[in-house]
Symmetry: C2
């Protein structure tokens, strides 16, 4: 059975880390939802924007797979770049579309967690004053609609690179949003906070870079796995990053990558056939 | 109002043309559905596979925009690589997911046409013998569920590169499928056939290359626009291709492309700001 996770929030949940900045995660036990069905994950998992890239989900799954040697993990990608908290209200399209995607996923998986990251678009105009109650009504509605009253909810903080440069400059009240997110996780049942301390951004000043997304994913998994808040960076983040690079691919994964190379025109059909023979020999 | 088109079928509807083989189509009057909402189109429109690329929809929209100077066009991408006709039966996930996506789209657009391309996965084992009746029940169900009994349905033929090399080699009965598709379009109301004659494939022997997808899109639009079958390549396909390259971008489109460059790390925030000043001066 696939254990599935609903991914909701704005761009740093969707992921904007540059694809070529980190080694790929190719693992046949990690799946993503497409057209209501499961397929092997390739990053980007989201497709909310043409610039979608590395998100925290990839390394979350990588860590999950090391802890769970048997099952599969699957992602339901529903985050939307730039979305405000109000756009996630239960009567809005993003909420309703996410519910619908989750219901397709739940026909063939067990919904196991909700990962949320949002707040940049609300880090201004005093929006933090009403953030808590709005978030509460949204999360109550998700749990109710998905018939999952106790499902773990992991929510991450906003990066300290905000409020300074580029597109992040306008997020002047991000520390107040962080206070609300933390308070929410501390007070609500089955809800865990994950710090973004130490994480860094792309040149645009608002999107977490690829390495930071990998680290953030490890932290999200730590919170999910231990059912406790992660208030400091993990001490073994570099070690966990090395484990990604050093993993040995299965035959199915190697063939998957060769088919991708062929389909993208990187190798000819003759080269593809030769490489397939080689893989099957090993 | 957006005039929307539902895109269904298998990989050559989703599009596998290599992105860098053709000039991009960036046009603020062309939209695509993401998370149940509209945004400006960037190719690939589909996200059914990590290898999605240029499809026929881009040039269909380009031609549509020249004919319709006022409205916007929007795509609902629901094709799924490798899918068989049976996987599109009304009780299957692909059908039900496409209906759901279309219903989100119809909240904010007028559903104006259905574009279908499928058959490679049924070009074997005598599947052509039952193709017509199965396709009929699927299309009847789409029109009924979408409450659009007379909506134009455009169906394209399979490429003559099939049955020869690579992944297309097994499609030995593609000419029989083509006969069924053509017969279907000739006999059914508001249904028009589009030939794939002269179109060519990627090195994988099954996916139409980018230029062919552009030409195919022009043919699909000709069929839709004139409400008649397109049984021969258009005589002005090269001219239409030139019109794409020679189009002048609007300010909004130029800014869109610069934001994409910044978000993908191709330019720094300082370069982005300078280029924005330049665009706004023009």
């Amino acid at each position: 059975m696939i254990q599935s996770f609903l991914l909701i929030g704005q761009s740093n949940m969707a992921g904007r880390g540059f694809i070529h900045d980190v080694p790929p995660i190719i693992n046949e036990r990690i799946q993503m939802l497409r057209n209501g069905r499961w397929q092997m994950m390739t990053e980007p998992i989201h497709y909310d924007r043409p610039v979608a890239g590395i998100s925290l989900a990839g390394s979350f799954a990588d860590a999950w797979c090391r802890k769970n040697q048997e099952d599969m993990i699957g992602f339901i990608p529903c985050a939307e770049g730039g979305s405000t908290l109000d756009e996630w209200a239960p009567d809005q399209t993003l909420f309703q579309h996410a519910i619908m995607e989750a219901k397709f996923a739940m026909q063939t998986s067990k919904l196991t967690g909700i990962l949320w990251h949002q707040g940049e678009s609300d880090s201004m105009n005093g929006n933090y004053k009403v953030y808590y109650n709005k978030l509460l009504s949204i999360m109550d509605a998700f749990r109710k609609e998905l018939n999952a009253p106790d499902i773990p909810l992991i929510i991450g903080g906003l990066g300290d690179f905000l409020g300074k440069d580029g597109f992040g400059k306008g997020c002047t009240e991000y520390t107040f949003i962080n206070q609300q997110l933390q308070k929410f996780a501390l007070e609500q049942d089955n809800c865990f906070f994950v710090t973004a301390a130490g994480l860094t951004s792309n040149p645009d000043g608002i999107h977490m870079d690829a390495i930071s997304q990998r680290k953030f994913g490890f932290r999200y998994f730590e919170a999910f796995s231990n059912k406790q808040h992660v208030m400091e960076p993990l001490t073994n983040e570099d070690e966990l990053l090395n484990l990604i690079s050093s993993r040995t691919y299965s035959k199915a994964e190697m063939i998957y990558m060769k088919i991708m190379d062929l389909s993208l025109g990187k190798i000819s059909y003759e080269e593809f056939q030769l490489q397939l023979v080689q893989i099957n020999k090993e």
